[in-house]
């Protein structure tokens, strides 16, 4: 049951991820990306990592994708402007090479990995629970946790700088 569910979810994930790239309409791409995040959350649930699954939906599907949608909706995206953009043969060629290289690197990286398996004695199904995560976060990983807040501060300053008002800006 779980195994067939996994294969179904995995194929759905791959299909949706492919559709993100293939879709001509960028809004469709974003929608497919949202579905991809959902299926990835499904994988997390199969691994019993409930907190990760929920946070994946809240942060990725609920927040970052809203930002993506904003950006895409605010781009001046008419039918005629779409057809005006012509991809030259050279850039297609360059894209193929870059993508192929990335693929080679990924294959090389995955080739050498081994699945560690798990020790039946020390394995607990509760690893992915919120409570476990909280306890670990506040004891073992305290410094990274506090440093993360500094990272957020930097990100906030960056966001503010990006949104700097420019002279003669139009509002509506």
């Amino acid at each position: 049951m779980t195994e067939s569910l996994f294969y179904f979810l995995a194929s759905l994930t791959l299909l949706c991820a492919l559709m993100v790239v293939i879709s001509r309409n960028p809004v469709h791409s974003v929608l497919f990306l949202i579905i991809t995040f959902f299926t990835i959350s499904g994988h997390y649930i199969l691994l019993n990592a409930q907190f990760l699954a929920a946070v994946n939906i809240i942060v990725y599907a609920g927040a970052i994708m809203v930002l993506f949608l904003f950006v895409i909706m605010f781009l001046n995206m008419n039918k005629d402007s779409e057809s005006r953009v012509k991809t030259s043969t050279l850039s297609k060629f360059a894209g193929t090479i870059a993508g192929g290289l990335l693929f080679v690197i990924m294959v090389a990286a995955v080739k050498d990995t081994t699945i560690a398996g798990y020790n039946a004695d020390t394995f607990t199904s509760q690893t992915g629970m919120v409570e476990t995560l909280g306890a670990v976060l506040f004891t073992q990983y305290l410094l990274p946790f506090e440093l993360a807040s500094v990272l957020f501060l930097v990100a906030m300053v960056g966001a503010v700088m990006l949104g700097k008002k420019e002279a003669g800006e139009q509002h509506f």
Partner: protein, 163 residues
């Protein structure tokens, strides 16, 4: 343990499937029984009765984008706060450390939230949390009668009404 959780999430899947079926059924039956007689006028977008000008898909004010950006940062912060909140008030943890755990985790969180408040304060000080306010233009009449006359007239009317 793990099995029951999976089946609970399976119920969520059932819920999802159920609601998708419900929506599709509703839309499909409505499509079957309603009339369908389109004409070009019906199919234009509504623009207060005028012919619509241009396209609605235009470039937009970037301040909405900045709001979304700041939102993401705080949303990730919330994701960090959730595990903290669940372990914070744990009796057994507090007792195991003679009450030190509670204060320790609270102070830890104060530092974390404090740095984030710094970020919020920065965005606030830079004016990104202030939305632009409309600037109302007071109407000015070009009537030859001075405004005082109106005021006197109104006062007299008021006095009459009260009498």
């Amino acid at each position: 343990m793990a099995e029951t959780y999976t089946s609970d999430f399976g119920t969520i899947l059932l819920f999802l499937i159920g609601s998708v079926i419900f929506v599709m059924l509703g839309l499909f039956t409505a499509k079957l029984i309603r009339p369908h007689r389109p004409n070009p006028e019906k199919l234009t977008t509504y623009e207060s009765g005028e012919e619509p000008i241009g396209n609605a898909w235009v470039q937009f004010n970037p301040r909405f984008y900045v709001v979304a950006l700041i939102f993401i940062i705080f949303d990730v912060e919330l994701a960090f706060l959730f595990p903290w909140a669940t372990v914070f008030g744990r009796r057994e943890l507090i007792e195991a450390t003679n009450g030190a755990w509670g204060w320790f985790s609270l102070i830890e969180m104060f530092i974390f939230i404090g740095i984030l408040i710094l970020g919020l304060a920065y965005a606030w000080a830079k004016g990104h949390l202030d939305w632009i306010k409309p600037k109302p233009i007071l109407p000015q009449s070009r009537s030859g009668i001075p405004p005082d006359v109106y005021r006197q007239f109104n006062a007299r009317q008021e006095a009459k009404r009260e009498a």
